[in-house]
Symmetry: C2
Subunit: 719 residues, 2 copies
């Protein structure tokens, strides 16, 4: 095993391994290859994205089932490029065959803004005479323009400028010193940047001006803390070590751990993508989910004053959760034995570029997994749990999103997101009324109300691809108090509503009934409970989309209108063999937008500057066939969750991480607790009590904080 | 400091310390003393409880503020004893003065069932001829009666037997072998036990009989797992060590950690009680909460068939969360450097008895506390968090509740509860229809639907005792889409509803508006935000009480009718000095039931066999003065939260821990993030980027899981 690992590690570095797994992200070599193939036929392009065009589900499932006789899926690149005049090209390049399968000019769309696109704006802004003029009005002299900064956002959508020209809005800031946090010094005007001409085409200036904030800097960097009295010195170290290494193995990007097995993908949009997730149930590798990802998010701000309505970032669709990912090479964000994966992307010039240590894979202790004590004799079994965490952190301008995909030994998958980073801020006058749309978190700093709404894409595979979704509500039984059927009024049950069409499946959260959603395989009935094998979505942070129906955000972020949507993922059976697929491609040049495997992005493939008329993505797909039969078939469940944030001074100048979590829990999937064979930390049984036998393992490393007999360092449990 | 600790530790063991802190639980000596004082005047008693009669809030607050000149609160014992003929005595004994302050016979109540009360029943049941007869009917021969077990529960309330006689219901089980889990073999009948006469007075027999389950045992103990293939061997150790010890100090039972300071109490009912919780805000010790505890809970089961309506355990009020607490001396349930506190109680005979290591105090790494990367240059600050955990685990017959009071560095208090242990089960016939009231989790085993509803008692002290509660709902702004005030429809704000009377403050959860409740000090306005200093209750697992209005559980568990209740906690100013208090005692023998400091138990002081007519506890207190002014005054907030559990086979034979969590978060309490001075694990600033300076600490212990160059063990971050 160790030798195997060395080989893999070496192969990973040298690139001498066999062919990549079909779901592996494109390597630097493959990105180069794709660009070269395109350049043979097309010139004058800036590259926006070159990413894996994932093998279609039917083709991939067939290959997974029988890789020896099924043709290996080709390596195919999904390309977005931008030509002169903001022309957008969508292309599909077969790397295995070395040829372009599809290349089309797509009108009226704007691909996402890359980090390179962002970086340019600040330079342009600082030199623009009209920006310099505006800076002067609020108290920044021309010689201080190097102290002016901007966070360039996509413009969202502004009806004055439409979708034809590639635009960004520059949220303006100032730094008295280069190391000062700029969010203490928001400026009150907002330049609009044309990415094609690289110039400022307009500045939104508010009717009431707000001079540059005169408050002292409010920093969190080490020098600032030292100046304010220094760091606290009373934290003793907690060391977390794994002397024997990790409990998982990697075969390329396929990880195996505690009966779980799955592929870890990554792309520029969604970041981490987990595919073909199976759980080994006493020797049977049972499928659970075909593909899990965070597919989109939107952060609407609640201030109706112009132009703040434009602040509703789609951080994945407009910037890319992969592109914005932190390299963890500069500091361990996790503890213990860590395995990292890099992420390769294309840059604007068409060259490959890599974020080192983009994905972190590690284990953590998970506290008590289960425990029971018999009150009669204190015989007890207590077993500690372990969890596996696949994580990434991405920085969306001011904010940080820490995404943790957590696997538990009991078959549960948890998605935890921690929000940290810095509030988006806007200037305010002394004693200005925020009108309830924001909070003064520091003198002169208005942090607007906002929501963080994430869209989890769940492509289930619960004992196979044919699944059905039920809404489950805890519900009072029939019969009034005193009736024969419910004399004491205590009857309650799980009311299940079967989702039969996408239209009917549009469903909201109900906290009062502890609403959950079951993803079931109705053909696989649990032999004990008589209920279908299922995974239950348990999610409790599910606010409504607060922007109103018919408004800008409501139109653009259709996925956020309901907590759950379900769509049908129809196989095009013709696509199963690659030759057949190719013929389809040739026949239908638009095919990759039409086939259901491409229904990945619930706010559309190209999100910036969509007007929401019509709403792209999810509402469009559902409208195409609102009455499709979504029972016992291949479906996708879309879940929007998140939180509403009314800022407070505690969140500034940097926000303590706020966690949020949801679970996918197996219910009626197993016939018993699937982790009974995890070694207990202590186990005794009635027949052994008082006989000094039956005691199992204890943690020999833990010790008493203060020695009971006055001697420090005594081990716990008298061991 | 180390010497100080040694002294404390030694004093703790030898009992040679000065007087106990007024909030400390009674020691074994004090319990003995209380019993001796009572025995001088009363005989023939069994002791049910001898616990600290906590100093009244006004008296204690006065003493805390000025301990040198204020009289030290006396040590006083709160006593419940049972005399012949189920006579219940409530008494108050002044240990400092050595005399009984109050002693009364309380009619028509039944104190909680102690572990000793429970232990007796099984012996009686096994010998009872009618029970033996019933066992015979379902297939257990008389010679196997030693294989018959019961979990004795309070009877709850059964109108056939009323409240006058002390009763238990025996939930019956069978073990083929002494080490087998009995919950696989529930029996179908239910004997009623008279605790006074120690005999079975009735047996509830269902109309349809269910013979003893013939299924094979379903066990989780080590021998069973070994027999089924053994334990998994692929878990490598994760070692958590604290070589320099813990970061907290203890002064008696007062803990100081990361600006937090509070007293850790414990009693037989609530278990852990945290008092006088303050946060040191740059030198100022600011009060946050006067007293926090889990005050009550109820576990209603949802099967309306007789006599299952009686299954609705009030685990704290009917059994005692302290009495049922696990001793952690037999196994470390936490990792690292642990400090334990013991818990002393009285036993039935009046002798003191101690649960060793009842409370566990330890720290854990808490992951990222905050992080921000500047996308321009990748300058970054990342700081890891730490948490302090005060925990206990109690076993309520079949179930385990793990209670974690978690303190965060950012001023947040988290209450996490993990549910584990074993489902309560009932017998079922092959192919019997559970009618939706339960689930067959194993052949012949029906686990009924149930709720776990906890009542958190919050006695706030947010910058002082005069607080006000607001309900907060995320709400859409006025103005339709297209209107001048809300053109794009994106306006939203935090709608605040001020609670002015207990009647108006009865409030339910609303998941759609992400409802929270703010506990505010309206006199302490945040200088930046202009909003009152507050702590926000953020709780997302808040199901409705499913038993119907007017039914048995609804009547008995009044606290569970709403998510939040607020009551007024009126000081009786006369009580401030002890002499004055004494005179009140003499004047009003019932005083300790009347004064508001005694409003601790929201389902009543004596819970077993209450009929709910009238509802005891919270509904009673509110009905006494529904229109009391609860603004800017001393209040108590009662929060009912929990979950609804529809069992599945995965939960059996022992349930993987299911966690649930709520937060008390400071909002507008601080003027900035209060944990900026936690040392970062990495910090660089723009001015230092590329110059090789500015890098702070990294975790030198973490390492790569698989060496990048093929060599294992390489440290992370190239250090």
């Amino acid at each position: 095993m160790a030798l195997n690992r060395l080989k893999q590690a070496a192969a990973h570095v040298t690139g001498l391994a066999g062919p990549p797994y079909p779901l592996d992200p494109l390597s630097e070599n493959e990105i180069q290859q794709a660009v070269a193939i395109i350049r043979k036929e097309h010139s004058g392009l800036f590259f926006n994205a070159v990413t894996l065009w994932e093998p279609r589900k039917a083709e991939m499932m067939a290959w997974v089932q029988d890789p020896k006789t099924t043709p290996r899926p080709h390596r195919v690149a999904d390309v977005v490029a931008i030509g002169r005049g903001s022309k957008v090209y969508d292309g599909i390049v077969d790397l295995t065959e070395g040829k372009i399968l599809n290349w089309e000019l797509t009108d009226g769309v704007q691909p996402l803004i890359t980090m390179e696109d962002l970086q340019i704006v600040e330079t342009v802004v600082r030199k623009d005479p009209k920006v310099i003029e505006q800076c002067g009005i609020i108290g920044i002299p021309p010689e201080d323009m190097h102290k002016v900064y901007c966070d360039p956002w996509t413009i969202g959508y502004d009806e004055r400028f439409g979708s034809g020209v590639r635009l960004q809005q520059a949220l303006m800031y100032y730094r008295p010193h280069v190391d000062d946090s700029q969010y203490t010094y928001p400026l009150d005007f907002c330049p609009i940047y044309n990415a094609d001409t690289q110039e400022i085409i307009h500045i939104d200036v508010p009717p009431v001006r707000r001079p540059l904030n005169k408050a002292a800097p409010n920093n969190y960097h080490a020098a600032a803390i030292e100046a304010e009295g220094g760091f606290r010195s009373d934290l003793k170290p907690i060391n977390i070590t794994q002397p024997d290494g990790v409990s998982f193995t990697m075969d390329g990007r396929i990880i195996s751990w505690q009966n779980w097995k799955f592929h870890i993908g990554f792309n520029y949009r969604e970041g981490i993508v987990l595919s073909n997730i199976t759980f080994n149930d006493k020797g049977a590798e049972r499928p659970t989910f075909w593909r899990l990802s965070l597919a989109e998010m939107v952060v609407p701000y609640g201030n109706p004053e112009h132009p703040h309505q434009r602040k509703h970032a789609f951080d994945l669709g407009e910037y890319g959760g992969g592109y914005m990912t932190n390299s963890l090479s500069l500091g361990c964000d996790c503890k213990g034995a860590i395995h990292y994966l890099d992420a390769a992307f294309v840059n604007r010039a068409g060259d490959p570029t890599t974020i080192e240590n983009a994905i972190c894979i590690h284990e953590e202790d998970a506290g008590i997994l289960f425990k029971h004590t018999d009150f009669r004799d204190n015989s007890v079994t207590v077993t500690r749990g372990r969890k596996l965490i696949i994580s990434q952190i991405f920085t969306a301008a001011n904010y940080e999103y820490c995404v943790y995909w957590i696997f538990h030994q009991d078959g549960t998958i948890q998605l935890e997101i921690k929000l940290t980073g810095i509030l988006n801020t806007y200037a305010m006058l002394p004693d200005e009324d925020t009108k309830g749309w924001g909070t003064q978190v520091y003198p002169g700093v208005n942090a607007h109300n906002h929501q963080h709404l994430f869209c989890l894409r769940v492509d289930p595979n619960v004992d196979g691809p044919n699944n059905t979704v039920f809404q489950v509500d805890a519900t009072r039984g029939a019969g009034e108090v005193g009736s024969a059927e419910n004399k004491y009024g205590n009857a309650f049950y799980a009311k299940k509503t079967r989702f039969e069409t996408p239209e009917q499946a549009k469903s909201d959260y109900n906290g009062a009934t502890s609403r959950t959603w079951d993803i079931c395989n109705e053909a696989r009935v649990n032999p004990y409970s008589g209920k279908p094998a299922s995974y239950k979505l348990v999610s409790r942070e599910v606010p409504e989309l607060l922007p109103k129906e018919g408004g800008l955000v409501w139109k653009r972020a259709g996925f956020a209108r309901h907590a759950v949507h379900v769509t049908k993922c129809e196989f095009l059976v013709l696509l199963v063999s690659f030759l057949a697929m190719l013929s389809v491609w040739l026949a239908v040049s638009n095919a990759h937008f039409l086939d259901h495997d491409s229904q990945i992005h619930p706010a559309g493939r190209h999100v910036p500057q969509t007007s929401g008329e019509p709403s792209m993505g999810l509402p469009q797909w559902i409208a195409e066939n609102p009455d499709a039969d979504i029972t016992n078939t291949d479906i996708v469940l879309w879940h929007t969750f998140g939180l509403t944030h009314f800022p407070a001074p505690e969140d500034f100048p940097i926000m303590p991480a706020e966690p949020m979590s949801l679970l996918l829990r197996p219910r009626h999937f197993f016939t018993k607790n699937p982790c009974l064979d995890v070694p207990p930390s202590y186990c005794s049984v009635p027949s052994g009590m008082g006989k000094g036998v039956g005691a199992g393992l204890v943690d020999g490393l833990s010790r008493l904080a203060f020695g009971k007999e006055g001697a420090e360092g005594k081990k716990c449990c008298g061991k």
